[in-house]
Symmetry: C2
Subunit: 177 residues, 2 copies
């Protein structure tokens, strides 16, 4: 059975809208998702870099994130034909471990808990596919990398890009029929 590794943040979980909303609220700003085309929030407001990253380190930040549209339905389908692993770069934010695990238990309870990976450097991942929004993770991955569309990766051209989970369904299931 082929194995698909799936990133969490901005692929199945949606930290970006919450991060932006929290930032605008606390620092009285008005940045929209459209302002982030090709850029990270820290690049738009470099003088607040520490404050921006500190928002993510709050222990509850990852606890109540929205689920990315269609990700549950499509992963449940893929789970029948592929070996699914959730692989998240949690070592950058050790405060997020519990919240991330509980979020997965709540929203992706059908996945095997033994197939969750909290790591840093994703070159350690042995899988056939990696679906990730961060080109840095795809660069070190040895299998087929699939870039999940996000405002800040809009300029990246080296990888197969999918816009949403319907695209992923087409790539893995519809196209194989």
């Amino acid at each position: 059975m082929q194995r698909i590794a799936v990133d969490m943040d901005d692929v199945i979980a949606a930290p970006l809208p919450k991060h932006l909303q929290l930032f605008n609220q606390r620092y009285n700003d008005n940045i929209s998702i459209n302002d982030l085309q090709g850029r990270y929030l820290t690049e738009l407001r470099p003088h607040l870099e520490k404050e921006i990253l500190d928002l993510l380190a709050e222990p509850d930040f990852f606890r109540d994130l929205d689920v990315m549209e269609d990700s549950q339905e499509v992963l449940e389908l893929l789970d029948r034909e592929y070996d699914i692993f959730i692989v998240t770069a949690a070592m950058e934010l050790p405060t997020s471990f519990s919240a991330k695990y509980q979020w997965l238990e709540k929203h992706f309870s059908f996945l095997n808990k033994q197939n969750i990976v909290f790591c840093g450097d994703k070159s350690i991942v042995d899988a056939d596919y990696l679906i990730d929004d961060n080109p840095k993770n795809l660069e070190v991955f040895k299998g087929q990398g699939i870039l999940f569309n996000s405002p800040y990766n809009s300029h990246v051209e080296e990888f197969k890009r999918v816009d949403n989970w319907k695209d992923i369904k087409s790539y893995f299931i519809d196209n194989k029929k």
Copy 2:
């Protein structure tokens, strides 16, 4: 650079003596490490299986474990010539995440935090070597498996066995000179 994946429990950290001591103390028993040759504690006291596993799930259990003899010195040496990853099956005990991370920060601060992996099924690990005390993890690993000696794996014969960290140093460094 070749990559060595290193398990935590009973390889660089010593949960076994603490687990046994806690068990004897709480359940008024007198089991020694020698009683565990080829057997797990849960096999010796099957009627207390849940209680035995619950001891490990206490959030602080992994916080103050002893460091396995010579593991720091040898890993610091190996770290110069190999890419070292710490790979621990933490998903069985989600309550252990923080304690395990803090223990690594304290005792193996020289290792790159991006090279820590909390996982379940270790078949996801892409490395040249895996040093582990659990034969189940070595069975699913595609590289060279190295079994770290422990009382309960004393009957296992399928893998290259090392008795301690001096053996590991010989295997990776002394033998290559």
